[in-house]
Amino acid sequence: MRGHREAIGVAVVVAALIVAPLGQGNYIAYLLCSWLMLAIAAMGLNLTLGYAGRISLAQASFIGIGAYATSIVTLAHYPWVLGMAVGVVLCFVVGLLLGFPALRVRGHYLAFVTLAFNSLFFLVARNEDWLTGGTYGLSGMPRPRIGPVSTSGQLAFYYFTLAVALLAAVVLRLIVRSPWGRAFKALRENEVRAESLGLDVRRLTLLAFAIGSAYGGLAGAIEAPLVQYIDPGSFDVVQSLSLLLMVVVGGLGEFWGPVLGSAVAVLLPEALRVTAAYYLMLYAIAVILLMTRCPGGLIGLARRIAARPARRRGAAVS
C-alpha cells in the first residue's frame, strides 16, 4: 500500500516537473536545471554520508572533475556522452582512491581529509592552465545533441536534464533497495556488527565513496553545458559545504532528502527575493529553525506532520 502511494506521488511530481517550465521564461527552466543538477550531486553525497555514514566534504571537486572532463571532450568536438562517461569513470576511480583514507579515519578526521582533497582539486584546476584554462576557466561548451534533436534551447536542455536526473534517481533507488543498499545502512548503524555478519566493510566503504563521487561527476557533466562556463571558483570548499547542507536539510539517509534539500537551497532564496535585502537573512533563519526544530530535515518534518493525526486517532480510541 505504501509503495503504491509512493508510486502515485512520484508520478504526480514527475508530471509537475514536466509542466513546470511551460509558459515560463528561460530563467525558470535554467533555475530548475540548476536544481536538478545539484540534486544529482546531493544524491551521491547522500549515498556516501546518509546511507554509508562516511562524511565527505569533497563533492564539489567531483562535480568539477565531471565538468572539466565534459568540457575538454566536448570542446574538442567529441559528443557529450563520451565526455560524461569520461567524467563519471574518472570520478568513480578518484572516489575509490579517496575512499582508502576512510578505511583508517572517521568523523572529523575524514572530513578534513576530504576537505584537503577539495582544496587540492581547486589548486590543480587553477594552476594547470594548459588543461583547465586556469583562473579564466573554460567557456563555450556546446549543449548535447540527441540524434537529430538539439538541446541548445533552454527548455530542451531542461527536459534533457530532467531525463538524466530521473535515470540517476532510478539507478540509485535500485542500489539502495539492493542488498548493497542494506549493507551500506548496516555499515552506518554498526560497523562491527556488520563485519561480524560477514559484510566486507572495506569493499563497501570504497564503493560508497566511488558511487557517490560518480554521481558528482554526472552532475558536473550537466553543469558544463548548462552554464557553458566553468572556472575553479565554482568548485571550491564552499560549494561542498553547500551540498552537505542540502543533504542535511533534506534529511540524511532519506532517498528523497537531497532532492528536497537542493530545492530549498536553489528555489527558496529565489522565492524570498521579494523581501529584497532581507532574503538571505530569512533563508538563514529558516535553515536554523528547521535544523533546531527538526534535525531529521524536511523528510523528518513531513513524517512528524503525517504521524500527528494518527497519534491523535490512537489517543481518541484509547
Binding site: 513546470a20 509558459g23 515560463q24 521564461g25 528561460n26 530563467y27 525558470i28 535554467y30 533555475l31 540548476s34 587553477r126 586556469g134 583562473t135 579564466y136 576557466g137 567557456s139 533552454q154 552554464v227 557553458q228 562556463y229 572556472d231 571558483g233 565554482s234 527575493r273 529584497a276 535585502a277 532574503y279 538571505l280 500527528r308 493525526p309 491523535r312 486517532r313 481518541a316
Partner: protein, 385 residues
C-alpha cells in the same frame, strides 16, 4: 481529525495558489516605462563594489525620471543580488532578459561578468558592466560595454610611473589569483620586464586572504624598490595594514583599488602614502565629480568609491545613446555605442568625456592618486589613450 482536515485543505489551497503564482505572467510592463535592471554583488565578497555601483545607478535613475525619463519613458530599475556567485549571476541575468530588460546594468566582479555576458550576447541585450578584467572585451561580444577602462588600458600608465617617476630597477608584485588579478598581473609583469625592470618577487594571494604577513615578509626580503599591489578592496586594506606593521617603507603602487575610499576607511592610517592609478576617483579635481560625490553622501550618508561613479555614468550613457537613436532598439543601441564619444560638456551626466571602441572598451582621462591625510589626492592627470 477536526484539526487535520482544515490543515490539509489549507495545504491544497496553498499548493494551488503557488501553481497559479508560478504560471502568472513574468512582469507586466507599462508602455511608458523602460526596464533597466541592476544585477550586481549586494552580498558576498563583492558587496562593497556592487552596492556602490547600484546606489550610483539609482541616483542617475531618479534624476532622469524626475526630468521626464528617456524618450518620455520612466526607468524601472529593480536590484538583483548575485551573492558574488557567477552561477547565480547567470540565472539572474537570464531572469531580467526574460522580463524584457532593455539594457542590463552590472555585474562588477569579472568572474561573474565572464559567465553572465554569454546570456546577454545570446539574447542581443546590451550590458553595461563595471568589470575591469582584460578578457571581458576581448571575446568579440558586441553587446558588452565597460564603465571604466580595463587593465590593459591602465598598465602602460603604471609602467611609466614606475620607470619615469619612481625610476626603480627592481619591483615586487603582490596580486590576487582571480580573473581580475591574473589579468592585471600578466599584463604588468610582461610590460615592466619589457621596460627593463626586474621583478624580484612575484607573490600571488587568495581572494579573501586574511593573513598577509608571509607575503609582506617575502617582499621585504626581496630588495624591491617598489611594490605593485593588484588585489581587491578588502585584501588591499589587509595588505596595507601588514605592510605598515612590518615597516615596509618602499612605495606601494596599485591600480584602481589601492586608494579606493573603502580601502582607506578599512586600512586607516596604514593607507597613508599608498599610490594608485585610477580611471575614476572620487577625489578627482573635477567639479562634476565632486558634485556627484556630495550628492551621494547626502542621499546615502556614506562616501562612495569609484564604483558609485561607474553606476551613475552607466545609466546616463544609456539615456544619451537611446536619445541619439530615438528608439528603444537594442541592436541599434549597441551599434551606436561602438566608436562613440560622449563629451562631458554636452552630456553632463557622463562627468568626464568618455569614448568606447568597437570592442566595448572605454577610454577617458585617468588619474594618479596618493593617500594623504586619510583622503585620495590626485597627484597627476593622464590623458585618454
Amino acid at each position: 481529525m477536526r484539526g487535520f482536515m482544515p490543515m490539509r485543505r489549507a495545504a491544497v489551497v496553498a499548493i494551488a495558489g503557488a501553481l497559479v503564482a508560478w504560471h502568472a505572467p513574468a512582469q507586466a510592463q507599462n508602455n511608458k516605462t523602460v526596464l533597466i535592471p541592476c544585477v550586481c554583488e549586494l552580498s558576498g565578497a563583492g558587496a562593497v563594489s556592487g552596492t556602490n555601483y547600484r546606489d550610483g545607478a539609482h541616483i542617475a535613475v531618479n534624476e532622469i525620471n524626475a526630468a521626464g525619463g528617456i524618450l518620455g519613458h520612466k526607468i524601472v530599475m529593480h536590484d538583483y543580488d548575485t551573492q558574488t556567485n557567477p552561477m547565480v549571476s547567470r540565472a539572474l541575468v537570464q531572469k531580467v532578459v526574460d522580463a524584457g530588460a532593455y539594457v542590463v546594468m552590472g555585474t562588477v566582479y569579472s568572474g561573474s561578468t565572464d559567465v553572465n555576458m554569454l546570456v546577454t550576447e545570446h539574447a542581443g541585450v546590451p550590458q553595461i558592466t563595471g568589470s575591469e578584467a582584460p578578457d571581458i572585451t576581448q571575446k568579440g561580444d558586441p553587446y558588452i560595454f565597460r564603465t571604466s577602462s580595463g587593465s590593459e588600458k591602465d598598465i602602460p600608465a603604471l609602467v611609466d610611473y614606475f620607470t619615469q617617476t619612481l625610476k626603480v630597477k627592481k619591483v615586487a608584485v603582490e596580486w590576487v589569483q582571480n580573473d581580475f588579478g591574473k589579468g592585471g598581473h600578466d599584463l604588468f609583469v610582461q610590460a615592466i620586464r619589457k621596460a627593463g625592470v626586474q621583478v624580484v618577487a612575484d607573490v600571488p594571494s587568495e581572494q579573501g586572504q586574511v593573513d598577509f604577513s608571509p607575503d609582506v615578509a617575502k617582499i621585504k626580503q626581496s630588495g624591491a624598490q617598489a611594490v605593485f599591489v593588484y588585489v581587491n578592496e578588502e585584501e588591499a586594506a589587509r595588505f596595507l595594514k601588514e605592510a605598515k606593521k612590518q615597516a615596509l617603507t618602499v612605495p606601494l603602487v596599485g591600480d584602481v583599488t589601492l586608494t579606493d575610499q573603502k580601502v582607506i576607511e578599512l586600512a586607516g592610517p596604514a593607507a597613508e602614502g599608498a599610490i594608485a592609478h585610477v580611471g575614476l576617483t572620487v577625489s578627482a579635481p573635477v567639479p562634476s565629480i565632486q558634485e556627484f560625490v556630495a550628492k551621494f553622501r547626502k542621499i546615502y550618508h556614506h562616501n562612495t568609491d569609484h564604483n558609485g561613479i561607474k553606476g551613475y555614468i552607466g545609466v546616463y550613457a544609456i539615456k544619451y545613446v537611446t536619445e541619439m537613436i530615438g528608439t528603444f532598439d537594442r541592436k541599434a543601441f549597441a551599434a551606436k555605442m561602438h566608436g562613440l564619444t560622449l563629451d562631458a560638456k554636452k552630456y553632463p551626466g557622463m562627468l568626464l568625456t568618455t569614448s568606447w571602441d568597437k570592442t566595448g572598451e572605454l577610454s577617458r582621462e585617468s588619474f594618479m592618486t596618493q593617500v594623504k591625510g586619510g583622503k585620495a589626492v590626485v597627484i597627476a592627470t593622464i590623458p585618454a589613450n
